[in-house]
């Protein structure tokens, strides 16, 4: 090896042109080995829920099946963000969480609470190798909370109470809490859950707004399939109730402050703002069976697609249709095999129309009589948190054999042409598709199948 000073750099950057059209290759080189275990199957072994419809899976299911149309859900009022919201915990974890609560914002607290529930439900912590358990969350851009700056701004007010921006650096900055930046990073649910539970596997956080939840599930499944982990705690948390989340959701037309969520109804105007978080434990099937875990279902396929277009309606339709098709193909499901579809069902004029047209396109004749549910009518708009709560709602329906109704769909929109479930007797079937959409032309979809050993 030679080491020498480089004085001329002009000649040092010739890109090697090694690719030639059609060159046959012998694949003996170094390559990522990630696919070595892609026969691995992925099962769900734990569930956690924090939302306006309940703080446990049991409460959630009860609310889904008993609530009548006309209710206007919103915040997770029962979730106060105190240590008692985190379930039964051993003393050391209780202490760790209590200490961290002040550096978690509300979305992080909800995400962590849902994650703790899922881990406890899966009973995985005592039996797993912590190096082999990862965390993957979907989250909104948590952005900044105006309240975190109130003190700093107050200290820069002039005598006539005007804000003097030139003083921020000297007078405002020191008033901001030392850990403020860490409080508002979207990856904090992932980090806190890893720290509290000593999960040292891979970790990531998807911030792709309403399609994040299904994308996090897809990524977690790949992480297990490629052998990088044996289990992944996957979740999502979101809100449209905080200052910026509400502002942006208003600007995107994704909430109606005065509204009520009426998926696929002729008079839909958009959902009320809401919040919530959900979590699942995903595991390699063989490991789960070996340890005798309770298995809720199997992730049979997951895909995302995009078609960003100035015409949002056609973009969303195209993206949704492609995500559904790819997911069905991965899951080796034909349209007639699908028990029900959990729609994004945002309850805005365009989103529901695009989604139902995509369902019609993919399912063809099988669309007639295909049960469609949309838990947003129970939850309002929990933004990136919604997608996983909806998947959990369907998973619980498969366990109970029966679907919950879509609320407030009093006059199904004939233009949509789908069949929203409005009774309490429709069979859930043993497989379903969960759809996430984002109005800019993004879609993600997950197929879940009841588990058969």
């Amino acid at each position: 090896m030679t080491e020498k000073r480089v004085s001329r750099y002009e000649d040092l950057w010739p890109i090697r042109r090694s690719g030639r059209p059609g060159t046959p290759i012998r694949d003996e080189g170094i390559s990522m080995r990630s696919c070595q275990d892609d026969h691995r199957r992925i099962v769900i072994t734990g569930i956690g829920v924090v939302c306006s419809a309940g703080r446990t899976a049991e409460q959630f299911w009860k609310t889904l099946t008993r609530t009548a149309s006309g209710t206007r859900p919103g915040g997770a009022a029962d979730f106060s963000g105190t240590i008692d919201d985190f379930g039964d915990l051993p003393a050391d974890k209780r202490r760790a969480i209590r200490k961290s609560l002040k550096v978690m914002n509300r979305e992080t607290q909800m995400g962590v609470a849902a994650g703790q529930q899922a881990l406890a439900d899966a009973r995985i912590l005592d039996v797993c190798d912590s190096e082999r358990v990862g965390v993957c969350f979907g989250a909104d851009n948590v952005s900044i909370q105006p309240d975190d700056f109130a003190g700093g701004i107050r200290s820069c007010l002039t005598d006539d109470r005007q804000f003097d921006s030139t003083r921020w650096g000297s007078d405002g900055l020191p008033e901001v809490a030392p850990l403020w930046l860490l409080k508002c990073l979207p990856n904090m649910p992932t980090c806190h859950l890893a720290i509290i539970n000593d999960l040292r596997g891979p970790g990531n956080t998807i911030t792709q707004r309403d399609v994040s939840a299904n994308m996090a599930i897809a990524e977690a499944a790949r992480t297990i399939r490629c052998g990088a982990a044996d289990a992944v705690l996957v979740g999502a948390t979101g809100t449209t109730l905080t200052a910026f989340s509400r502002l942006r959701a208003r600007l995107e037309g994704d909430i109606d402050d005065e509204g009520i969520c009426r998926p696929f109804d002729r008079k839909r105007t958009g959902p009320a703002p809401g919040e919530g978080a959900g979590a699942l434990v995903l595991e390699d099937r063989d490991g789960a069976v070996r340890r005798g875990a309770r298995i809720y279902g199997e992730i049979a396929g997951a895909a995302a697609a995009s078609a960003v277009d100035r015409n949002r309606l056609s973009g969303c339709r195209k993206a949704a249709a492609r995500a559904l098709q790819t997911t069905l193909r991965q899951a080796r499901l034909s349209p007639t095999d699908v028990g029900h579809v959990h729609a994004h069902g945002l309850g805005t004029p365009d989103s529901d129309l695009a989604e139902s047209q995509a369902i019609g396109q993919v399912f063809g004749d099988a669309a007639a009589g295909l049960p469609i549910v949309a838990a947003k009518s129970h939850l309002a708009n929990a933004a990136s948190g919604a997608g996983i709560l909806e998947l959990i709602a369907s998973l619980l329906a498969v366990q109970h054999g029966v679907l919950f109704p879509v609320l407030n769909c009093d006059e199904p929109d004939p233009e949509c042409g789908v069949d929203p479930v409005t009774d309490r007797e429709t069979a859930a079937g043993d497989s379903f598709l969960n759809v996430n959409l984002f109005g800019r032309g993004l879609a993600s979809c997950v197929a879940v199948r009841a588990f058969a050993a």
Binding site: G19, M32, C35, W168, T190, P202, T205, R225, R246
Partner: protein
């Protein structure tokens, strides 16, 4: 069946060069991008230095800058780097199926317009804080809705998806300073799992903003060396006192090997390994033994099937904070053993500053430049080695150094760690022969 993932396009916008060629010459010349902070009036801030992208706008890639002026800086950087990479790879090639072309970025959170935000908070002050409801109402009246819609971390990915007609999976991740590294690794997995043929991946970020300085200063992470900006970032040096906020973007087009060969694309390198790991220690600081950092490097190596002594160069995270550099050095020693002393390690943040969520993408591009040129970049300002940091940090001057496999690692707040192994593409290779040893 293994699907190999190769690199067919690169692009970047950085404080020392906003094309890949300019970045390369800047790195080899040891050019430092740190100077007096100019993007806002920082006179009364405790930190008044930054590594800014200066004298660049989107006309450099043939875009009308006015069309993007409502977008935050990071989005503009992302478009600049993305368009460069897409052009080099010719992603408009009709042989690329649109639904098999995806995007995975690690762009961070943009910060609100300072004047508008503070005015709105001021108008929403209550006796003991600030009312969210009032804030939203005031904001709806005075914020520019078009600019506000752009303030989401996924907007660069969404714009690039539209601009480049990428209709496959489009996503953005945030894992603090490892975001872009993970975006590249996860994008490679999407190709391996046959969910895409081509991915644009990388990241963009700028936290050079009153709140960026506020946040990092309150975490005691920043260098206070205002009087000597060029010497402020001193990775692995005994006198290091923190990082300097940087900004920028870097993008890679990665592609399944056979797909790239079939359409005759230039192959610039290969992504051969990826590892992600969590410290599971504290949100504020790294595990003292760097257990997550070491695990991420080990996992990337295992993923590539290589041994530690196959690695010829390490591009370190090397922020220049007291803790980072010590912990990272310790982690490298753990993973590479005695070999650690024979592998050159450099921190290009000494020249580029810290581009936060985007840094991993820039550093991946640095590795690809180095693999192709046979020259590795220096760690500038490494004047007085810290006895606890005892590796070969390539001080001051670039070095001719041919090797086949490089590793780049990143470490983020919250205990997130990721590493990539990037290799020279060699079609005739039978693998496992390290040129760095053979040379």
């Amino acid at each position: 069946m293994k699907r190999r993932v190769v690199v067919t396009g690169l692009g970047c916008v950085t404080p020392i060069g906003s094309t890949v060629d300019d970045l390369a010459s800047g790195l080899y010349a040891g050019r430092v991008g740190v100077g007096r902070l100019s993007l806002f009036d920082a006179d009364r801030f405790p930190v008044r230095i930054a590594a800014e992208v200066r004298g660049w706008d989107l006309s450099a890639v043939g875009e009308d800058p006015r069309a993007w002026q409502r977008c935050p800086r990071q989005t503009q950087f992302a478009i600049g780097a993305g368009v460069q990479a897409a052009r080099q790879a010719d992603t408009g090639d009709g042989r690329i199926r649109r639904e098999r072309f995806g995007i995975y970025l690690g762009c961070g959170e943009p910060f609100e317009d300072f004047q508008m935000f503070t005015r709105t908070v001021q108008e929403s002050l209550t006796a003991d804080g600030c009312s969210d409801a009032q804030f939203t109402e005031h904001a709806l009246k005075i914020f520019d809705p078009d600019a506000e819609r752009e303030m989401e971390p996924d907007m660069p990915a969404i714009h690039l998806s539209e601009r480049l007609h990428a209709e496959g999976p489009v996503g953005n991740c945030i894992s603090a300073c490892v975001s872009a590294t993970q975006a590249i690794g996860e994008a490679a997995r999407l190709i391996q799992f046959d969910e895409a043929d081509v991915m644009l991946c990388g990241g963009a970020h700028s936290t050079i903003h009153p709140f960026g300085v506020t946040g990092f200063q309150r975490l005691s992470a920043l260098s206070q060396r205002n009087d000597d900006p060029q010497a402020a970032v001193r990775p692995f040096d005994i006198d290091r006192d923190g990082f300097v906020i940087g900004e920028g973007a870097a993008m890679l087009v990665i592609e399944e090997l056979q797909h790239a060969l079939n359409r005759g694309a230039d192959i610039l390198g290969e992504i051969t390994g990826y590892g992600s790991a969590q410290d599971a220690w504290r949100v504020t600081d790294s595990h003292p033994q760097g257990r997550g950092t070491a695990a991420a490097m080990r996992r990337a190596l295992a993923d590539s099937g290589l041994n530690p002594d196959d690695i010829g160069y390490i591009n370190a995270h090397g922020t220049g904070t007291v803790v980072n550099d010590k912990v990272e050095t310790h982690a490298i020693r753990q993973v590479f053993g005695a070999q650690a002393y024979r592998i050159p390690v450099s921190s290009t943040k000494s020249m580029l500053g810290h581009a936060t969520t985007a840094c991993g993408a820039i550093e991946a591009v640095v590795c690809l430049i180095s693999l192709n040129s046979g020259v590795i970049p220096p760690t500038v300002n490494h004047d007085n080695p810290d006895p606890e940091c005892d590796l070969d940090y390539v001080p001051h001057t670039a070095r001719e150094w041919a090797c086949r496999h490089m590793l780049t690692d990143n470490i983020g707040f919250g205990g997130q760690n990721a590493a990539l192994v990037i290799s020279r593409y060699d079609e005739a290779s039978s693998g496992r022969v390290s040129l760095s040893r053979a040379a």
